[in-house]
Symmetry: C2
Subunit: 627 residues, 2 copies
């Protein structure tokens, strides 16, 4: 920075060229998620096939990425991926840690765009500005772990911290709609099927390495380091940061279960009787062997777990995160961390999003139960049973889940249907009311019937059901910045959801880790950006306006596709929870109460930004979309 070096890679022609994104664009979108949304809306044609050559995959860093190492880390080790999603049909995007983001910057570029499609499978290396294409036919079909090892070997750079590899597994190659991108053998850009987009372009992996010193490009180095030090201290001293270090995200299992919001048995219950057995505390006691942070991170929430059980054997592996413990644990009634750790490992290796996979298998288990009970149309039940010739998807059957992971990644038999995601699967087999989702993206691990602000957060999330666009759990459960009653209708919570959506959009664009938001505020980032970019008159208000601008651009992508209704699937909207503190509740009351106020705050009508709102945010060029 201040200019953003974007590497455009044309896969048809195997040509790469650098484009410099000027400061005036960065001051409107920062980088990362914001820049990706802006470029995607301009460059991806309306109604493009997400798996066709006209889709583009943006892999972007931000102005803070890779600037401060772990010694006084500000958690700026992440990158963001953006493309039209094959799962949802709207803008897909996903954010991941590890080491790929910083190494991408060190390689000489701040971002990459994959354009068109390659004729044959390739992997790409970017080393000190030099882009090379390598035949990857021998890697096609292989898992992520093997691929990373082979790519490093072939490039002669086998040191684990010598550059970084971003790869897809067989799931991405086979266009599984929720395929992920994995770097560092376990850090996933998991949601919305970005792995399938890379697979459709026949890019197996990207290796990045270089010696660029991004710190030297900071305009006011001294001011920047001073601001970073202050931010670092705030983060390091915060109790949530410490708790994340001690137990990882899995610390949430017991807390969310106590609130009756731990989705269990495919969202048919909100509490799991074996929650304690799959908690972060149990993981720390029995299976934790190390903690791992991303590049430049002091929180170090990453788990290294080891199961040395012959059946569920996995040696040292990353995770599992809280979301995975829900998705392939409580949601499938698997109350044992050994298979959860194993399944997590297998899903990382195959390159699939654990949240979507767990929800899809949960949907299968529910539909299978209906078929057994004679509650499914005969023809649907027969088709299902035929496909289940060798696997029995009973609640709690971890072995079936492992087999289904392979079948899904390779699209064999029943897996070919599971690979389409929970909503398509449920439609195919006659139970559209079975999956819990918003905008066809399967919901993460917080039941909105028991944490009612999440109903609004999920419904209005531009990429579909997501806990990372607004993390209302923060105030409804954890008391940050204020403690709210998760079951009360409280219009102040609408303002907080909108605030988080805008703030988080800037977090994903600068880019820092969202866990920073437990301990920091927008104002904390103003001096950092100001120093990094030379924006002397930059203000907190301008930062939040950037966040709002990004949120509107993402929304416009959905409006242009005709997908912008803010709602939830009947599973949580209409079906009452049968257990726990929220027994008898649905998400409908809260969503209906919150949505009008949310639209008022946003300046939207029926989910669409008005021309006035776009004008206020400097987005007149996109007014045609709402006219």
């Amino acid at each position: 920075m201040p200019e953003f070096r974007l590497l455009r890679i044309d896969l048809w022609r195997q040509k790469a060229r650098e484009e410099r994104i000027p400061d005036k664009v960065l001051r409107r979108f920062l980088g990362g998620r914001g820049l990706g949304a802006y470029l995607a809306l301009r460059e991806i044609p309306p109604h493009a096939d997400p798996l066709g050559p006209e889709n583009r995959l943006y892999i972007l860093t931000g102005p803070l990425t890779g600037t401060v190492d772990a010694s006084q880390g500000i958690e700026a080790g992440r990158y963001h991926v953006v493309a039209k999603s094959p799962l949802t049909g709207v803008l897909g995007e996903s954010n991941a840690g590890g080491r790929f983001g910083p190494w991408l910057r060190f390689s000489g570029y701040d971002g990459i765009v994959l354009e068109n499609v390659s004729e044959e499978p390739v992997y790409i290396s970017i080393i000190d500005g030099e882009v090379r294409f390598h035949d990857a036919r021998h890697l096609w079909g292989r898992g992520v772990f093997y691929t990373e090892d082979r790519v490093r070997e072939e490039l002669g750079r086998t040191g684990p911290d010598e550059g970084a590899v971003l790869a897809i597994g067989p799931a991405g190659e086979r266009l599984v709609k929720f395929a992920s991108l994995i770097n560092n053998k376990g850090r996933a850009a998991g949601r919305t099927g970005m792995g399938a987009v890379m697979g459709s372009k026949r890019v197996k992996a990207i290796y990045v390495y270089g010696t660029r010193d991004v710190g030297k490009e900071i305009v006011d180095r001294q001011g920047f380091m001073e601001a970073a030090r202050k931010l670092h201290e705030k983060i390091a001293s915060n109790p949530v940061s410490k708790s994340l270090n001690a137990y990882g995200t899995a610390v949430l299992v017991n807390i969310i279960n106590e609130h009756g919001a731990l989705p269990t048995r495919n969202w048919n219950r909100g509490t799991f009787d074996k929650a304690a057995e799959i908690s972060g505390e149990t993981m720390a006691e029995k299976y934790l062997v190390d903690r791992r942070g991303c590049w430049g991170c002091t929180i170090r929430c990453g788990r290294i777990t080891k199961v040395d059980d012959p059946v569920f054997y996995t040696s040292v592996g990353k995770g599992p995160e809280y979301e995975t413990i829900f998705a392939v644990g409580s949601n499938l009634e698997i109350g044992d961390l050994r298979p959860i750790i194993k399944i997590n490992h297998v899903l990382n290796d195959l390159g699939m999003d654990t949240i979507s996979f767990g929800n899809t298998v949960g949907t299968l288990m529910e539909i299978y139960e209906k078929a057994v009970n004679g509650e499914l149309p005969k023809e649907k039940a027969e088709k299902l049973m035929k496909l289940l010739h060798d696997v029995k998807p009973l609640w709690g059957n971890a072995h079936a889940v492992i087999q289904l992971a392979y079948k899904t990644a390779y699209r064999d038999g029943i897996g070919d249907y599971l690979a389409e995601g929970a909503v398509s699967f449920a439609e195919e087999f006659g139970c559209p009311e079975c999956p819990a989702h918003a905008r066809r993206l399967e919901l993460p691990a917080y039941d909105p019937r028991a944490i009612n602000s999440m109903a609004l957060a999920y419904a209005t999330s531009n990429r579909g059901g997501c806990h990372l666009r607004a993390y209302a759990v923060s105030f409804d459960v954890l008391g940050v910045p204020v403690k709210k009653d998760p079951l009360a209708i409280d219009m102040e919570k609408v303002r907080l959801v909108k605030f988080q959506q805008d703030f988080f959009a800037t977090i994903d664009s600068m880019i820092v880790c969202k866990f920073n938001t437990f301990s920091t505020e927008p104002a904390d980032y103003v001096p950092l950006l100001s120093a990094a970019m030379g924006w002397d008159d930059f203000t907190e208000e301008e930062l939040l306006t950037i966040g709002e601008r990004i949120y509107n651009v993402e929304r416009l992508f959905g409006v242009r596709e005709g997908i912008y209704k803010d709602t939830l699937s009947p599973k949580v909207l209409e079906k009452p929870l049968p257990d726990g503190p929220a027994k008898g509740r649905t998400a409908k009351e809260a969503l209906e109460a919150y949505l009008p106020e949310y639209y008022r705050l946003r300046g939207w009508v029926d989910g669409k930004p008005t021309r006035e709102t776009l004008h206020r945010l400097g987005l007149d060029e996109f007014a045609y979309i709402v006219s």
Copy 2:
């Protein structure tokens, strides 16, 4: 017949043309295996790459195939596959039952040759003489079961007995060296990697159907039916036939275990303490739901088993055969039929030979044990452990075996090495003495140290270690035609081995089931062939000469490749058995005693036919190979 209609399919040009093989060739080679060996030796160039376009895949029936239905069956429902083997480098060939053979004849052709390679994956339908090529890109990567269902659906022929589908699974596509061809969802042409050859040609499946009445082409219909009736009565009344009906081939588990010849723990023992739990008797008691015969069969040795256990769930599935129970049971110390049935099902679906797979995994388990005990070179051990990041190949760990099946079929990580077969795997990881094999083909379920005629049978088998070229168990254990002592050196047994090799070659060429040989003799087939082909002066001696001719042609293929040394791997040749009735014995003594006499009977010198022998058999055209 009397002319053999051979369909030559050029996959490059997507053209098919019929060639008529004249009677004079059939009278020298019959059909099936014999004709295949003859054509392969003429048409496949020396040192051809088995997975390159110059290899050819012959799928052939014989003059008896499909002639008499099950009402008075003569077990003529089989077909034979021939090609250069990617596993052994010599002539590969394999024989299978089910329904594909007869339906191939009914479709209008007696055999198919796949030539060259297809640009894109295809499947082929042959319906009443009409050959069509269908795009199979959507089936690439799919399992055998799904593929068969989809092919039938797409062709609008969903009746289970309406034609037949021969398919490869993902293993064949990915050129796993022991990939099989599967028809009827569980009948395998398993050995020598014929599935990889079909995969290399990018043919996913072949569907055959038609209304040709092969009975009408029989020269002397009345004489034929009379001879068939006599043969049928002999077979139906025989106690071995009845025993095969009652217990399937698995009846052998207890018998062979009692002889100390049941390979256990990768050939490190000859008895298994859990043999009774994996026996045919236990299978019949607990898991058998039906018996199934091939087309035209009254023995009906095929098992339909059902396991309704959540972990090892498989609904109705074929097998397992005795060989599979050894390979993935005793050989891996898995003493429970539930996982064995499950693994068998998975291997059929993925399209892999159970014998080679079980031996290869057994080799891995032994090498892994060595690595753990520090008995492997450090660099080899490290490489192995890295590849085993998510699976622990301990003896008896059925879950690991299931995962390894997927990894092997898709060539992921450790599976990429397992896919090369036991010998290559063992060489790669520093234990060439670990696998039991002959000519790089992994040995089947009879330890030659405890049944000493099998030492000669395995060593001299042209396709490599095989129990179906000479089944010496027949006299050494079962007493057919005479009872011999399995541990005694007895030169009469050499003559019996040679006799079986020649007789069996005709069995595989007519084609009937080898189980007929427990109850019938060469003379029984003379009137059948005579009536079918109009060979009025045909004799038993001529039939056995045909068998000898075939055996020599197969041998010449190996000689031309430079691979014709008749020996066994050190595992059984030099390492003494530690347990059972044959404790302390190796296979060396018997093999050294038998081999000179065998060569004398064959008219071979050091494993090579002499010019005189070739002249006697009318094979002068191939004399150049031994000159």
